[in-house]
């Protein structure tokens, strides 16, 4: 179950196995500004990969992502599938997260074995256990 970490914001998304990075980020409640065709044709969603490895199960045109870009750590996020945990660099203005309450529902979806109550909330909202999904469940 790969985790995508976004620096410098520290956002984390828990992806499903085989899930492309961009689709996973959106499903987990993160809105990325630079999104194009979502189908590997335009290269708008390329992001710098600073740690970890990605693979491509679908053919990517050389004109969209060159071999050099791949080796230098550029990740075509709509097609890239993480091999284990990865870290991406994306300026804070280029990525936003859903409101904390909603985010908790979204980002745990990939962890059916983990109950929301035992899942720590996002780092930015330490008070989340008393206001969000977990608290509601206890009532």
């Amino acid at each position: 179950m790969p985790t995508v970490r976004i620096e410098p914001s520290g956002f984390e998304a828990h992806l499903n196995p085989g899930e492309p990075v961009l689709a996973g980020l959106f499903r987990c409640g993160y809105t990325v500004r630079q999104v194009g065709c979502r189908r590997g044709g335009c290269g708008i969603c390329k992001i710098e990969l600073t740690a970890g490895e990605v693979t491509y199960e679908k053919v990517v045109a050389e004109s969209v992502l060159t071999a050099q870009e791949q080796t230098q750590g550029t990740c075509l996020t709509c097609r890239a599938i993480p091999v284990g945990d990865i870290t991406l660099h994306l300026e804070q203005v280029d990525v936003h997260q859903a409101p904390p309450g909603l985010l908790r529902y979204l980002n745990v979806a990939a962890h059916p074995a983990v109950t929301p109550a035992s899942t720590p909330g996002p780092a930015t909202t330490p008070a989340s256990t008393t206001h969000g999904f977990a608290a509601t469940n206890k009532e």
């Binding site: 500004r33 194009g36 065709c37 044709g41 045109a61 050389e62």
Partner: protein
């Protein structure tokens, strides 16, 4: 009468199997020939052999084919192209399967255009004798046919001049910096007949395809097409909405390789004597997306 219509769009796709699923099952085109790495399609209301060609390998445009009325029209266009300064080559019948001889040239915008006078006629399911209104068992959106395309060019003015001088097109609408005579031309919508546009040209990088479009009947067809895109997980760029420019109703979406497609309905009748509608930058958002009234970044930056 010169150019009748855009007859075919030939595009590259990264994965032919996925592309076939999109164009056949979602769009509802009829496959007419499978050559292995190239597949040919037509819409239900098209009688010529094909209007869409998919070729495996890469993304973006290979070429467009424009159909003329008579073989003599080819000679005339060849001469006009030479006069304009284009390098024209002859193509023989069969270079494109089921397509006649004709000419081929690269435009100042670095797109390849072919001009031909006939294709093998294979007709439609409804036929021509006491025809029904549409085939009963259409698949998916069930598009009747190819409508138009938008290409990018560094110099829109030169392309407009070429389409005027060589193809006999006229502009129906334009986007320009001001209303002044010496204004800079940003985009132009052009046609040879009553169709509101056959080819539009927008300022941008050379040789790029912005989209090619299929025609639909009306608003409800456009809405239904968008519903089917959700069912088939087709990424929608924008829509359903209306264009201020052309007044057409639209959904923009992406094929499985990221080439942008459109379904387009409506649009008013064009006439060469109708005064050209001119849009200036302060209203460009409304011109392109009549309801949102703002351009989205994707619409301006994504091309293949």
């Amino acid at each position: 009468m010169g150019i009748m219509r855009m007859g075919y769009a030939h595009v590259r796709v990264t994965d032919l199997a996925e592309a076939k699923h999109h164009y056949a099952s979602t769009m509802g085109l009829y496959e007419t020939l499978d050559e292995g790495n190239r597949v040919y399609y037509k819409g239900w209301d098209e009688w010529d052999h094909h209007s869409v060609v998919l070729e495996e390998g890469g993304v973006g445009l290979v070429k467009f084919g424009f159909k003329v009325d008579k073989p003599e029209d080819i000679d005339e266009i060849e001469q006009k192209a030479a006069t304009f300064g284009l390098t024209v080559e002859r193509m023989s019948a069969g270079e494109n399967p089921e397509v006649s001889d004709g000419i081929r040239f690269t435009t100042p915008s670095e797109h390849v255009f072919e001009v031909y006078h006939s294709q093998t006629v294979i007709g439609t399911e409804v036929g021509t004798h006491n025809p029904e209104s549409f085939p009963r068992h259409l698949v998916g959106v069930g598009v009747p046919g190819l409508d138009h395309a938008l290409i990018l060019a560094e110099d829109v003015g030169t392309m407009q001049q070429m389409l005027t001088d060589v193809f006999g097109f006229y502009a129906t609408e334009r986007v320009q910096t001001t209303l002044d005579d010496d204004a800079h031309l940003i985009a132009t919508w052009m046609t040879s007949n009553n169709q509101i546009h056959q080819l539009a040209v927008l300022e941008g990088p050379q040789g790029r395809l912005h989209h090619f479009a299929f025609k639909l009947g009306d608003w409800s067809d456009v809405g239904r097409a968008a519903d089917l895109m959700s069912m088939d997980d087709v990424p929608i760029d924008i829509g359903p909405t209306r264009h201020g420019i052309t007044r057409g109703q639209t959904v923009y979406f992406f094929d499985p390789s990221g080439n942008r497609n459109e379904v387009f309905a409506g649009g008013y009748l064009a006439y060469p004597d109708r005064p050209v509608s001119v849009w200036t930058p302060e209203a460009i958002g409304k011109g392109v997306f009549y309801h949102a009234r703002e351009l989205n970044e994707r619409f301006m930056t994504v091309s293949t």
